[in-house]
Symmetry: C3
Subunit: 137 residues, 3 copies
């Protein structure tokens, strides 16, 4: 049965939870990870150099600036704040679900791959991620 | 066995089909949704405020303008019209498959999450979406 | 059990491997494809006109230019070369996993859909792709 794990966030950024997925990986099959929100994302990215994470944040903030930036004046869904609609746009561009093969009870992640919750909103949130392990028969 | 559902589209926009997925969700496991085209996408997004949908469309049309826009003059695959190659680019950036956990016969979507076909072409199309339910054993 | 296939790349571009997936598709279920790297991607795209592929490359190179381009001077993770951080950004924007329904031992790809490894780095690489078939019961 799928389970839900909570991830606490305190502003935009990447929150790693690779370690919390290990206990769900069983036998041979596929682990599905799914985020139950439309203003944050999942992301598999390099887990070694923290500069990769700050550069990723910088890139996406330039690609999708806050709605009080003059370049975004065409946006209409703004009443929850300038980070509201950009969060939906980023959530559209980045993964809502991940499917990770499992062999012998281990996630088949590459050496440098970590699994992250990518928070796009400024206020603190408790984010729910559903995790389901399907074993091959 | 996977089944195919048809979704009729009449120009660029988000076409919700969350309700049509409910009958595929059975027991505990994962529902896979897959779009069989390269010029439209799947998307999970907010189902409450229609402004989110029009803002998403506006953002992606600015990020990937039609090929008759001067900024896109480098594109070469243009013989099917100015919305042809931009549709392929949007289809590359947005999901072709979604994996949604199912518990007790219910999709584990968040409260505000709807499942959409995101049409990128101007002409009407009948789009095929393959749906496969895999139950955990 | 999931298996790993190697894909040799020699610079940025789309490397099709649709044909190598056919032997993994069995019965009815879902084939999961997962790339074990953070500087290349998976992509399902049109397999007919090669101009689509060169246009896709051109678009993403303009959206995410090399870090020695003046517009990217804010990037800090640059010591592996000007194609390093842009590769991570593209890998964040494009799929790391694909879930493809299978019916009667055949992938349910659309007529024009091919499965590609999208290489973002300039130097040659051997890329590992994990493939797992889960049959419905």
């Amino acid at each position: 049965m799928a389970e839900v794990i909570d991830i606490e966030t305190s502003g935009p950024g990447l929150y790693e939870f690779t370690g919390r997925l290990a206990s769900f990986a069983k036998g041979d099959g596929v682990l599905t990870v799914f985020v139950r929100h439309t203003s944050c994302s999942l992301l598999i990215q390099e887990n070694a150099d923290p500069e990769v994470q700050s550069d990723l944040l910088a890139f996406f903030n330039r690609l999708v600036p806050p709605s009080d930036d003059p370049s975004m004046s065409y946006l209409t869904h703004t009443y929850e704040g300038p980070d509201d609609m950009p969060a939906h746009i980023k959530a559209a561009m980045l993964p809502v679900s991940l499917s990770i093969p499992v062999t012998g009870g281990r996630l088949m992640l590459g050496t440098w791959q970590g699994v992250y919750l990518f928070e796009h909103r400024r206020r603190p949130h408790t984010r729910q991620v559903a995790v389901a392990m399907i074993q091959a028969v």
